[in-house]
């Protein structure tokens, strides 16, 4: 993939030298619309999809691992500090260094990038799950226990559902920051939007930088909105109380939010 991109870089250089008809390119303008329209589908679609893959895969994997760790440490409370410690250390390794540290072990490629990105997500997601579980009010827990719920029923039917706001908040932060960090994944040979910047002369080409930036920021914003919607939907019980005081008001509020 990166070889390909290098070729694209070369062809761009030729283009810059040869095609003098486009004054915008000649001047290295920040927004050369014609050039974008001509080159978008060839240059940007594949790296964008790669980027989506890096983010999606590492967030989902990080979430599953963090959930596993949370279930374990919920039963065995002593595991919480070591889990937070280990994921914290992973989180503090500078990303580029992390990629290079992994290269001798896992080699160049998407896998290496995914391992590093997933490791970063663990800390954020795990911490939020633990905080969410800790914040579950004592009343429902005591009532659940008193009604004969097993520890497992309590965890899956009471504690996790009530921790959803914090868990989703963790996923939002993890996803948005992964969109940013994944632009460095190409150092490990992982491709993504970063490959469009760190290769060849692209880094000095302003229009290119702008397009990559807009794509990355747009992706982060879209993910954020999707999570926000998911959170609203999953925690309707939480916002329901705001409309207390009669079905009429409740209905009106619903209608307003739909219209908005």
């Amino acid at each position: 993939m990166s070889v390909n991109l290098t070729l694209v870089g070369q062809s761009l250089a030729e283009k810059l030298a040869g095609d003098s008809s486009d004054q915008c390119i000649q001047d290295n303008g920040a927004f050369c619309f014609n050039w974008i329209a001509e080159n978008f589908s060839d240059r940007y679609v594949t790296p964008t999809l790669e980027h989506l893959y890096l983010v999606g895969f590492s967030v989902i994997l990080g979430f599953l691992l963090a959930m596993g760790m949370a279930v374990l440490s919920h039963r065995q409370r002593w595991l919480v500090p070591p889990f937070i410690g280990v994921t914290g250390v992973l989180y503090t390794i500078p990303s580029v260094a992390f990629f290079f540290l992994l290269l001798p072990i896992t080699g160049r490629g998407v896998d290496t990038a995914l391992i590093a990105l997933t490791a970063y997500n663990l800390q954020i997601i795990y911490r939020n799950i633990v905080a969410g579980l800790n914040n579950v009010p004592v009343g429902p827990k005591d009532a659940g226990r008193g009604m004969g719920m097993t520890a497992r029923q309590m965890l899956w039917k009471v504690e996790f559902p009530l921790a959803v706001p914090e868990i989703v908040a963790g996923l939002r932060i993890a996803t948005v920051s992964t969109v940013a960090i994944a632009t460095l994944a190409d150092f490990a040979g992982g491709g993504g939007l970063g490959s469009l910047i760190i290769t060849g002369s692209n880094i000095t080409f302003k229009t290119n930088i702008l397009v990559v930036t807009v794509l990355a920021v747009g992706m982060a914003v879209i993910f954020d909105i999707l999570f926000l919607l998911a959170q609203r939907r999953l925690t309707r019980w939480q916002t329901a109380g705001e409309s207390r005081g009669g079905s009429k008001r409740f209905g009106a509020a619903m209608a307003r939010s739909r219209a908005a």
Binding site: P137, V138, G139, P140, K141, D142, A143, G144, R145, G146, M147, G148, M149, T150, Q153, V158, P161, L162, V164, T235, R236, W237, Q238, A240, G241, S243, R244, S247, F250
Partner: protein
């Protein structure tokens, strides 16, 4: 309740503490010390005492939320120690001060919690939920709302309904009305007593409020620091004959007044009212007044319903007038609680009040003097025992 029979509901079961002791590790003194109590099936036993007296611990050992250190507790004739905690808890209703409704589940889902764990089928669960929503007097529309959309009082009712869902034989209630404001608390207490008169569960009820204990309890266990039982008695016995100075202090200096809460107006000997009828000659009425306990004549209609008190001016006429000088209010009902009757008298700044039966007919007169005599008498014991049933439907 109509659906009771088909819900395969458990019969109310007696609960027996046998030298039950709880000692927490690292603590020298037991939290509950060799407690022995018999709670009869279908009765409300209130565990009351100052904070740190072990009343909640004592209650929570029944469903093994707290493990017994020594001794035993029987629910029915089975030791709770022989039961698995989850199975045991699903057969015992549980209501707590924080209510503890699941905020992410609708009212209907909350009530269905235990039936679902017990594997009831959908239609039976739905039917039971609907039944309970009507039993607690909740608008059926609220069934699909979330707890946050309900008022505190409504949430508390749902908490009780949830505990009743699988029709347990025993209910544990830990300060169930503790978080509700005083006005709503009074209403919820009365509602609950009405409900209990229907469902007749065996209830262990924890409170720190002696007034609530007197109102709710068929029997009251007063616990003192260190989890020792100070007295176990009916509310009337507790007020009349505190076993020791601790109970006396805890019950309070106003226990004579509290006894009034246990009595109805019809439980005391009322005075006979000198009655007057419209058109009667005032001479006859004056003759009646001589030597009567009540120094005023009460005008009644042909159904003997009170119309008002006759004044001196009224009696100066030849015939008893149709409209008396002063109103008969307050008119008390025989089923009124004495405490409320006294407060009505005091509020109206009146010495006497006519007492009527269920049809509004005069049965006698209650005077402040009667109340005073009652409060100062110690030998009213028999009266009180017969009146020790709680004032239902206050």
């Amino acid at each position: 309740m109509a659906g009771e029979a088909e819900s395969n509901g458990a019969e109310a079961l007696p609960v027996t503490y046998r030298d039950t002791t709880k000692r927490y590790p690292g603590s020298d003194n037991p939290a509950v010390d060799s407690l022995s109590l018999d709670v009869a099936a279908g009765e409300i036993c209130v565990l009351v005492g100052p904070s740190g007296c072990g009343k909640t611990t004592a209650m929570r050992m029944v469903n093994r939320m707290v493990e017994i250190t020594d001794g035993d507790i029987l629910v029915g004739d089975r030791s709770v120690r022989d039961r698995t905690p989850f199975e045991l808890r699903r057969e015992i209703g549980y209501v707590i001060q924080q209510i503890g409704l699941f905020p992410h589940r609708t009212i209907g889902e909350n009530i269905a919690t235990v039936p679902r764990m017990l594997g009831w089928d959908q239609s039976r669960t739905t039917q039971r939920v609907d039944e309970l929503i009507s039993v607690i007097g909740l608008d059926p529309e609220l069934r699909d709302r979330y707890p946050a959309q309900l008022s505190g009082g409504q949430q508390q009712r749902v908490g009780v309904a949830r505990a009743l869902a699988a029709n347990p034989g025993v209910m544990l209630m830990d300060e169930p009305f503790g978080a509700v404001d005083p006005i709503n608390r009074e209403r919820l207490q009365n509602e609950f007593l009405r409900l209990q008169a229907e469902v007749k569960k065996t209830i262990l009820f924890v409170t720190h409020d002696i007034d609530e204990a007197i109102k709710m309890g068929d029997r009251i266990a007063v616990l003192r620091e260190g989890g020792k039982l100070a007295q176990y008695a009916t509310p009337a016995e507790l007020l009349m004959a505190p076993a020791n100075s601790f109970v006396e202090d805890f019950v309070g200096a106003d226990r004579a007044l509290k006894r009034l809460a246990l009595m109805r107006v019809s439980d005391v000997d009322l005075w006979e009212a000198p009655l007057a009828f419209v058109g009667q000659s005032t001479g006859e009425v004056r003759a009646k007044l001589e030597g009567a306990e009540v120094p005023h004549a009460l005008l009644v209609d042909s159904d003997r319903k009170p119309l008002g008190w006759l004044s001196e001016t009224d009696l100066r006429k030849d015939l008893v007038p149709e409209v008396p000088d002063s109103s008969p209010h307050p008119i008390l009902d025989g089923s009124d609680v004495m405490r409320d009757a006294l407060s009505d008298l005091l509020q109206a700044e009146s010495q006497y009040a006519p007492v009527v039966d269920g049809h509004g007919r005069i049965t006698g007169v209650l005077s402040i003097e009667i109340v005073q005599e009652f409060l100062s008498s110690d030998e009213a014991t028999e009266d009180e025992h017969s009146a020790s049933e709680r004032p239902l439907g206050v």
